[in-house]
């Protein structure tokens, strides 16, 4: 039995969920007074910052959700990850971070420019990782691969980034800054430094958690990968906060961001390759070819290939058929993913196969309708009007050079 009892991380029978809920409350109790003060002490800049950073978080989360390579993960679990990053992580960090700064000063006898480079990574990276770990320990969250870990890590990191930046904007706006400075900070921390900030660090460590829970490698290898990822994220975060390379706001942010971006992209590539390999194996060995064959998967292998195939469908049979084809692509992917996550025969798998059958039927009808409407001269032309058999992918599903 590999199908969890719930469809998302919200599982009232899981003690992990209840511990997470308690930590969320603690975080909220610590955080919300600060948010309230930020909004009331200087309402103008406070509301502006709240609006800008809320929009940043929501748009960012939706874009990441929308542009996932294969899987549309549970919206509930995604929301749990994002909101935990928004509240739980900064709330607990507000307790631990000042205390760790205090420890560093006590040990050394005075403050140093390096304190933030040491304290912030030691507190923030493990706390973000803790949320991803908690999700991995709730089977309903279906953290079955490095890709799942990366996705939820990004959501946690993005949530944390939004809260941190909102507080950062309003802390000094309450001390006399004007809305112009809120906007300046939004651009600086949202775009100049934001693209290689907390979301990227958490993506790296989240991928390692996903690998730890989803891989069949031995415990030592998985632990090493996890330790390396956490260590790398902390080092990069420390480097970003360090007094090194103080060349001005933008040059420093870009120079310090390059290693973060490179490691983030390398992690993304590694994760996609693993995910592709696993789904290809599912198409070959797990899911019957009548539903999704290995050849079908070749036509689904990247977003670009899928988009190109949809364009071919548009050219040959029109936009309505292309829409039906997009639905078929989604249903094929869902069939593979549900088989991988919950197993063939699980309720989610059966539902996905049913949707796949409907999608094939719709596509067949659309293609036949389009073929019938086409003038006879076109019917035999290149790319012909012969409707593709939805049981096997249309010619466009396997463009040359993709296999």
């Amino acid at each position: 039995m590999i199908a969890p009892r719930t469809a998302s991380a919200i599982d009232v029978r899981s003690p992990v969920m209840w511990v997470g809920a308690a930590l969320f409350l603690i975080g909220a109790v610590r955080l919300l007074p600060a948010v309230f003060r930020s909004l009331t002490e200087a309402p103008g800049p406070g509301l502006l910052a709240f609006t800008l950073w809320s929009a940043y978080g929501i748009v960012g989360a939706l874009l990441i959700y929308r542009f996932e390579m294969f899987e549309r993960r549970s919206l509930r679990t995604t929301a749990v990850a994002f909101v935990s990053g928004l509240v739980l992580v900064p709330g607990i960090a507000m307790v631990a971070s000042p205390a760790l700064h205090g420890i560093l000063v006590s040990l050394r006898g005075s403050a140093s420019d390096w304190d933030s480079a040491i304290a912030a990574p030691l507190v923030e990276e493990p706390l973000k990782l803790l949320v991803v770990l908690a999700l991995a320990l709730i089977p309903g969250a279906r953290m079955r691969s490095a890709s799942d870990g990366l996705f939820f890590g990004v959501m946690v990191g993005l949530g944390f980034q939004v809260t941190e930046n909102f507080l950062y904007s309003t802390q000094w706006s309450a001390q006399g800054a004007d809305p112009q400075l809120v906007l300046q900070t939004f651009i600086l921390r949202g775009f100049v430094t934001g693209l290689w900030s907390h979301a990227t660090y958490a993506a790296i460590t989240g991928a390692a958690i996903g690998y730890f829970f989803g891989s069949t490698r031995d415990l030592r290898t998985r632990s090493l990968v996890l330790a390396f990822a956490l260590g790398a994220a902390m080092l990069l975060h420390g480097f970003f906060n360090s007094p090194l390379l103080q060349l001005g706001v933008v040059p420093s942010a870009i120079l310090k961001g390059i290693p973060v971006l490179l490691l983030g992209l390398a992690t993304l590539r590694w994760v996609h390759m693993r995910e592709r390999r696993a789904l290809r194996a599912d198409a070959r060995d797990l899911v019957p070819d009548e539903h999704v064959s290995p050849d079908d998967f070749d036509g689904l292998v990247t977003r670009r290939v899928r988009r190109r195939n949809r364009r071919i469908m548009t050219d040959r049979f029109g936009p309505t058929a292309a829409l039906a084809f997009a639905r078929l692509q989604r249903a094929q992917l869902d069939t593979l993913i549900t088989a991988h996550d919950d197993g063939v025969g699980s309720a989610r798998y059966v539902q996905a196969v049913q949707e796949l059958r409907f999608a094939k039927k719709d596509l067949r009808a659309e293609v036949e309708a389009a073929a019938a409407a086409q003038p006879p001269a076109m019917a035999g032309g290149p790319g012909g009007a012969t409707p593709p058999d939805p049981e096997t992918p249309p010619a466009g599903q396997r463009p040359a050079g993709e296999r």
Partner: protein, 195 residues
């Protein structure tokens, strides 16, 4: 049933092995890690921190008295400067200096210096003016970069200026700022003697 990631080793991923388990061990692990951050680190900080001063008001030899912020360690070694520390933040109350300029003139050089310090990446706020509980006029200048904050208060009393400086990590500013502002508002100045 074949699992795609089982692979040739025959091992079953941990994520699959967790299905159907009660999850108590996982909850304990998550709870313990959180406790380290919520309890362990603050407790260690409290144990290492210097003693807080047990007085309702402290007075320096230069005649400046303030109400010490609660929970802050006090450095009793300096007679002329009053130094308080907590959570990596340091508040220094300097001796009063005679000045015939205005608060605006007094704060301007620091504001310009911070604004022109490109390496420091400071975001500098406009000066904010207020009155202490003793009725003295004061100004606050705040500057913050992604990791640190610098705040300067200047309190004016009958031709004397007292400077208070706070350096704090950005992470501690939210808690430290209120204490520092309270300290400044509680200030009484009597240069050359006890207030």
């Amino acid at each position: 049933m074949f699992l795609a990631e089982t692979g040739p080793t025959g091992r079953i991923p941990l994520a699959i092995r967790l299905v159907g388990r009660n999850g108590v061990a996982g909850a304990v692990i998550v709870g313990l890690i959180a406790l380290v951050y919520l309890v362990g680190i603050p407790a260690l900080d409290a144990a290492l921190r210097g003693p807080a001063i047990d007085a309702s008001r402290v007075t320096s030899s230069s005649g400046i008295s303030v109400v010490p912020p609660e929970g802050w360690a006090y450095d009793p070694d300096s007679e002329t400067f009053q130094v308080f520390t907590q959570a990596g933040a340091t508040i220094i109350v300097a001796p009063a200096l005679p000045s015939d300029g205005t608060l605006e003139e007094a704060v301007a050089p620091t504001q310009e210096q911070l604004a022109s310090d490109e390496g420091g990446q400071w975001v500098v706020s406009e000066p904010q003016y207020f009155t202490t509980r003793a009725g003295d006029r004061a100004v606050l200048l705040a500057a913050q970069n992604p990791t640190d904050a610098q705040l300067l208060w200047i309190v004016e009393h009958e031709g004397w200026h007292v400077r208070v400086v706070m350096n704090a990590p950005a992470a501690s500013l939210e808690t430290a700022f209120g204490s520092a502002q309270e300290l400044v508002e509680s200030m009484r100045i009597q240069p050359g003697g006890a207030p």
